[in-house]
Subunit: 127 residues, 2 copies
């Protein structure tokens, strides 16, 4: 699951003097660590929204909640300012994630309301 | 920087029985914690790529590195599988981030090669 220095060098290996390449590889190793953390954290976020999706489907709540989303965006923009991250990028990022979550919720909602012949008693028993 | 339960309830507050709303609020509180972590981690990632951007601009390296990006995508897809995150989403996510990074690198590159009258000695002194 780790990248070797050779893989991290990419096209840069052919163009750069060895000292600069060493600096670049050290920076890329940190970026790779951050990316692994982001992947595991996003996986955890989707698990949480998956649970929300099941709850919403069981109680016939709409997948999207515009008031909640407005509050999330306003809060993340404040946090982004504190972290010195471009607040506009934080908003774009949350919209990117929410789009994916709504796709998941629609899929859960469809599977909860469609009779599933492979499940004894059908999906209604979980409602 | 925190959301109150009232803000977390969003539109759901008007439609749901109190027990379900309590479950929903607990799930949303976890999602809000994860989102704050994501924002701070993304800020750290952009700091790291900002440093890469400065290094690249100083040594006239191209902002994009397709071989590096291919390796990053392949690695993140493996990590995503381990985390039970959709590997296609992990790829889409990395592309979304890389697009923003390249925008930053192009901006750094432009500012490093344009004489800056406000800086004593101009930008060449940092090369």
């Amino acid at each position: 699951m780790t990248s070797s220095p050779d893989q991290r060098a990419g096209d840069a290996a052919q163009h750069v003097d060895p000292e600069v390449l060493e600096d670049l590889l050290a920076m890329r190793a940190s970026i790779d660590n951050i990316d692994a953390t982001l992947v595991y954290l996003l996986a955890e976020r989707f698990k949480a929204t998956q649970r929300v999706g099941v709850l919403k489907a069981r109680h016939q709540l709409p997948p999207a909640d515009p008031a909640r989303e407005r509050n999330q965006i306003a809060r993340l923009k404040r946090l982004a300012e504190d972290a010195q991250l471009d607040p506009e990028f934080a908003e774009k990022f949350l919209n990117f994630i929410i789009e994916e979550v709504i796709r998941h919720h629609q899929a859960i909602s469809a599977s909860e309301s469609t009779p599933d012949p492979s499940r004894p008693g059908g999906p209604r028993e979980v409602r």
